[in-house]
Assembly symmetry: C2
C-alpha cells in the first residue's frame, strides 16, 4: 500500500484540529475538539489518536498509508527532541514527547514545529509569501510569534529560538507580553491590545467619554477581537486603541526591516481582521523608523490562508516529516 | 601563467590599503596611503592602481596572475552594480563604479562588499567565528556595522541591506548615529561614544568632578579611543562613559539574540580595545533583556583579526570574486 496520506495536528490552547490530506493545502477530512488543557495532556492526546484512526477508517485506509504527521503547537518546544514544553496556553503540557507518542502509535515520521514557524512555512508555500526568498511571518494572534524564511527555507537559529521579535522591548514600560513590560508582544498581540484597551478605556471614562467597550471591560469580557469589531463599527476609543497598537506594530516591523531586509513581511491575525485600521498607523511609524532602501525593498502583505492557516501549517510540517523516510535521522538532524 | 594571486583593497575614510596574497589570511605585499576624500575619488583610485602594479612588479608578476580583486568599503554601496555610493566617510565618492574601473584595468573578476559584511566573512573564515554556522559580526568602529552569517554564508537580505542594527532606536532621545537620535549606532559606536562622553563630561564638570578627558574635550580632540585609554587608566568619568555605552551595547545584542538566535556574536573595534570595561556592562543588560534559552546558545567573542581585519576582509572578498571565472554572472548574481 502506498504512503499517500499526510496528517496535520494543530494544538491550540482552546481547540485542537486533526486534518488529513493527500495534497496540501487541500483537506480531505477534519476533526476539531476542545483541548481542555486544565485536564492535562492525556485526554487531548487520546482524542488526537482517536480522531486520526476514525478519519483513516472513513477513508478506507490504515496507519500504513500515512507518509507523515505534522504537529503545530505554541512554543516553547524542542523540535529536535519532539517535546512540547508547557507553552503559556498549555501550562499542563510539561515536556510532552508528542513526536515519540504519535510515531509509536502510527509508525510514520512525525515532526513538531512551533506555530509561528509552521505558519511561516504555510504562508510561504501556499499563501501570501509564495515566490519570495526572504520573508518574515508575524502571527499577531493572542501572542506575537514570528517565523523567518531565508533563501526559501525556514530559519531556526542556533537553538530553534529565532524570530522572537515579540520579546524585544519597544518602550521602558507598557503592556506586558512575553513576561516583559513594553515588549513588542505587549503592544501588538491580541492579549497586549486588551491591556492597552483597558488602560485607554479607564482614561476615556475618567474624561466622561463613552465607548461600547466600557461594558465589556466591566463584565471582564474585553478581547482584542471585540476591540476590533468596535473599531470597525466606528467607536472612537476603539479606533484610538487600534491606532496606538498599530504605531507600535510599525516599530516592530522597522526592527525586522533594518536587521533582516526581507522581501516581504506577511501579517496574520489582527492585521487580517483589522486591515488598514491597524496597518495605516503601522506603515506610518514603519516609514519614520526604518531605513528607506530596506523599506523600499519590503512588501507588507496580509496573510492569505486566513482561518485555514492552522490546518495548512500542520500539513506543511507533515510534508517536511514525510520527506524523510528515516525517522531518527529526520528528528535529530 | 596561472592565476594564483588575490588582491584586496580596503578603502577607509582616513587611509586605504592594497594587499596581495597567494593564500589568505597571509599577506605577501602591502601598500598603504592616505585616502584624502576631500580630493575626490580620482587620486585615490589612481594610487590603488599604481600600488597594485608596483606590488605585482616586485613579485615578478603581471595582472594576468590576478585571480580576483576584492574591495571592502563603508556603505552605502551597491555590491551588485559595483558602485560606492557616497558613504559618510567618503562623501565625495558619489556612485563610483569601482568594480568596472578595476576590472577594466586588470582584466580579472572584481567584487565590492561593505566593510561590515567583509569583516563578517573574514572573522567567520579566519577569526573568532571559525566553525560556527550562525554568526553575527559587529564592527563597533566609528560606526556600528553588522554582518550576518547564516548557514555558514553571508546573508545579504533582499537588497544588500541586512544587518543594520545600528539604525534601530534604543531610546527616544540620545546620541545620534545613522541620522537617528538614540539609535544603537548613536549609543555604541566610536562616534556615538564621543557624544555620550561630551554630555557626561559637561555634567561632571558642573558638579566639580575632574577628568583627564576634560582638556581633550575643550581642545576638541575627544575621541572614543581616548575615552578608552582614560577608562583603562582608571579615570572614573571615563569608566562611567564606557559603562553607559556598554549597557546600551547589551540592549543591541539582546535584539540580535532574540531575533537571530545566533551561535555567536563576534565583536570588533571598541569591544576588543576595551574588553571587560565595555563587555561586563553589556553582558549585564544582555542577560536582563534577552530570552534565556537563546542567550544560553550564544557566545560573545572578541574579534581575533585585530588590526589585520581590513586586509583579510578585502582578501576574503577577493576569494569570492576569484571563485567565479565569469565576471558578469558573478557581479549580477
Amino acid at each position: 500500500m502506498s504512503r499517500n496520506l499526510l496528517a496535520g495536528v494543530d494544538i491550540g490552547g482552546t481547540k485542537t484540529a486533526v486534518v488529513l490530506s493527500t495534497s496540501p493545502p487541500e483537506v480531505l477530512k477534519r476533526i476539531e475538539f476542545a483541548t481542555s488543557p486544565e485536564q492535562g495532556p492525556g485526554p487531548a492526546i487520546h482524542k488526537i489518536k482517536t480522531a486520526m484512526r476514525k478519519m483513516l477508517e472513513t477513508q478506507g485506509q490504515t496507519a500504513s498509508s500515512l507518509r507523515g504527521i505534522g504537529v503545530s503547537c505554541g512554543g516553547p518546544l524542542n523540535s529536535n527532541a519532539g517535546l512540547i514544553q508547557a507553552p503559556p496556553n498549555l501550562p499542563t503540557w510539561i515536556n510532552v514527547p508528542i513526536v515519540d507518542m504519535l510515531s509509536a502509535e502510527f509508525g510514520c515520521p512525525v515532526q513538531l514545529e512551533n506555530d509561528a514557524n509552521a505558519g511561516a512555512i504555510a504562508e510561504h508555500r501556499f499563501g501570501a509569501g509564495m515566490g519570495y526568498r526572504q520573508m518574515v511571518f508575524l502571527t499577531l494572534g493572542t501572542g506575537l510569534g514570528a517565523g523567518i524564511i531565508i533563501d526559501g527555507r525556514l530559519y531556526r537559529g542556533a537553538s530553534d529560538m529565532a524570530g522572537e521579535i515579540g520579546h524585544v522591548r519597544l518602550t521602558q514600560s507598557g503592556p506586558v507580553g512575553y513576561n516583559k513590560a513594553g515588549s513588542a508582544e505587549g503592544w501588538t498581540s491580541g492579549a497586549g491590545m486588551t491591556q492597552v484597551a483597558e488602560q485607554m478605556l479607564r482614561k476615556a471614562e475618567s474624561r466622561g467619554e463613552g465607548s461600547v467597550l466600557l461594558n465589556a471591560m466591566k463584565r471582564g469580557s474585553l478581547t482584542a477581537r471585540y476591540v476590533g469589531l468596535a473599531a470597525r463599527s466606528g467607536d472612537p476609543v476603539a479606533r484610538r486603541i487600534v491606532r496606538v497598537c498599530g504605531l507600535k506594530l510599525g516599530l516592530s516591523l522597522a526592527i525586522l526591516v533594518d536587521i533582516l531586509n526581507p522581501e516581504c513581511i506577511v501579517l496574520g491575525g489582527l492585521a487580517v481582521r483589522l486591515g488598514d485600521l491597524i496597518l495605516k498607523p503601522a506603515r506610518k511609524s514603519l516609514q519614520r523608523e526604518a531605513l528607506k532602501p530596506a523599506l523600499d525593498a519590503c512588501r507588507l502583505l496580509p496573510a492569505l490562508l486566513g482561518e485555514r492557516i492552522g490546518d495548512v501549517a500542520a500539513l506543511c510540517v507533515a510534508m517536511e516529516a514525510g520527506s524523510s523516510t528515516d525517522i531518527s535521522s529526520r528528528r535529530r538532524s
